[in-house]
Symmetry: C2
DNA sequence: GTCTAATCGTGAAATTTAGAACGATTGAGA
DNA sequence: TCTCAATCGTTCTAAATTTCACGATTAGAC
């Protein structure tokens, strides 16, 4: 298997999202220029990304939406369902538990973990809330792949440690604090504050 | 003013966040190596980033937390308060309205806009919810700089157009669909689905 | 069948970003 | 005072990523 650039993989997910949408609208063909208009990514970039996955386009015509979608999905997702464990059932965590869109994209929240006893034992949108201590056991039982940190920053390292111990391979961290994990575990920080400030800084110039 | 790399600006925000924290703990000095341990960013990268903003460190000692923090803030934030308008008071929008952390970082949610009449007129955490039609007027009155798209993807382009018309200079888009805006308006997409899938893909290799 | 315009795919150039190496500086302690 | 070890800041090198240029291909018009 060819070594595909990290950023290409990320953009492939955007192409997949876009193609899913086009297919739902019964669109059969799409050119790199069309995709560029929709996604804001340049047409050259799109063609180059796609060429990583083989020659699937037809000159003068473009790409068949269904075929391209399948090609991309085969490469980057391989029909996997991604199992995710949530830590922290507060405002943000609850929003995610209630979000119906994950299922459609092969993401399954398999369990939630809380400290607050009043939330433990409940089921939100079919997902049970467990005490944090049960995380290692439940995570193994449910085959969770990834974890989400949605606890206050003061407890983010603590839950990150549990996630690592439990064998999770990737963490999305919403807490506004860096977490330390072995380098075999990937971390994606999503700090709304930083995103807003960054946008503001960059719009100022 | 020197042209500072975009990624350096983003990392500067992480340094600021970290320094805020250290200062709160009454820590006066910090070396690039310390910061590297905390943030996961390499010490070389950190020194190089900081050197963009002038020589503020002392060999053998490191940086004074307060001084470095001030230097960074002067460059990238300039003591501005960022005014933000929220579109969509659903699960995610409400979580943001209720988040107390923004204030501490000079981010102010100045108004929220909704379609659902049952939500209009309410005040959440001090922020009033208006009908979308009032957005241009309220945004001008409140001097909002940025907007947040927290409506379903099916309506994201529609509200993005209103944001542009209203003069917002940057948009954080949580909807899983690309939005088209003039290139003078910056967009930051945050698609939880894509973040999770990306993490999964990258952890698989 | 030939021509043509649109589109793909790709190799090279340019740009951005990260990393490595290393000299310069400084405070602490012998 | 002199040495030393820690740390900063800068320059050079390397890697990753994007952009550019252009040839190759193909469906459709005539
Ligand atoms: N809500 C937002 O818009 C927003 C914006 C920026 C950053 N964040 C960050 O996202 C994270 C979650 O935000 P939120 O608004 O949902 O916070 P929240 O306070 O509403 O929820 C946090 C939840 O985590 C639980 N918790 C605390 N310690 C725990 C532990 N050790 N193990 C398990 N659960 C624990 C709490 O009981 C609570 O239910 C925070 O780190 C916050 O700083 C949120
Ligand atoms: N909640 C999550 O965890 C999550 C995860 C991934 C993506 N998202 C995306 O984030 C966005 C918001 O998610 P959510 O969970 O808050 O959705 P939600 O359905 O809870 O809330 C959406 C809100 O937008 C309002 N709205 C609809 N059309 C509008 C319009 N034209 N103008 C103003 N308001 C309008 C609705 O009345 C509703 O209150 C959606 O695009 C969703 O796909 C959310």
């Amino acid at each position: 298997m060819k070594n595909i650039p990290r950023k290409t993989v990320d953009r492939a997910l955007i192409y997949i999202r876009t193609l899913d949408h086009l297919i739902k609208e019964k669109r059969y063909l799409v050119s790199s220029k069309d995709l560029a208009l929709i996604t804001g990514i340049s047409d050259v970039q799109i063609r180059k990304d796609i060429s990583n996955f083989g020659k699937v386009g037809t000159p003068r015509i473009g790409y068949k939406t269904a075929e391209l979608n399948k090609t991309l999905k085969d490469f980057v997702l391989q029909e996997n369902v991604v199992h995710v464990a949530l830590f922290g059932v507060g405002h943000l965590g609850t929003a995610m538990l209630r979000y119906p869109g994950f299922n459609e994209d092969n993401i399954k929240l398999v369990a939630a973990f809380e400290k607050d006893k009043s939330k433990i034992g409940k089921k939100i949108n079919g997902v049970r809330v467990y005490p944090v201590e049960m995380a290692p056991k439940i995570i193994k039982r449910t085959h969770a792949d990834l974890g989400i940190v949605a606890v206050p920053a003061s407890h983010s390292q603590e839950v990150a440690d549990i996630m690592v111990l439990s064998g999770l391979k990737g963490i999305v961290n919403f807490a506004p604090a860096s977490i330390s994990v072995p380098k075999s575990v990937l971390v994606k920080d999503i700090d709304f504050t930083i995103e807003l400030l960054s946008l503001f800084c960059n719009s100022q110039r």
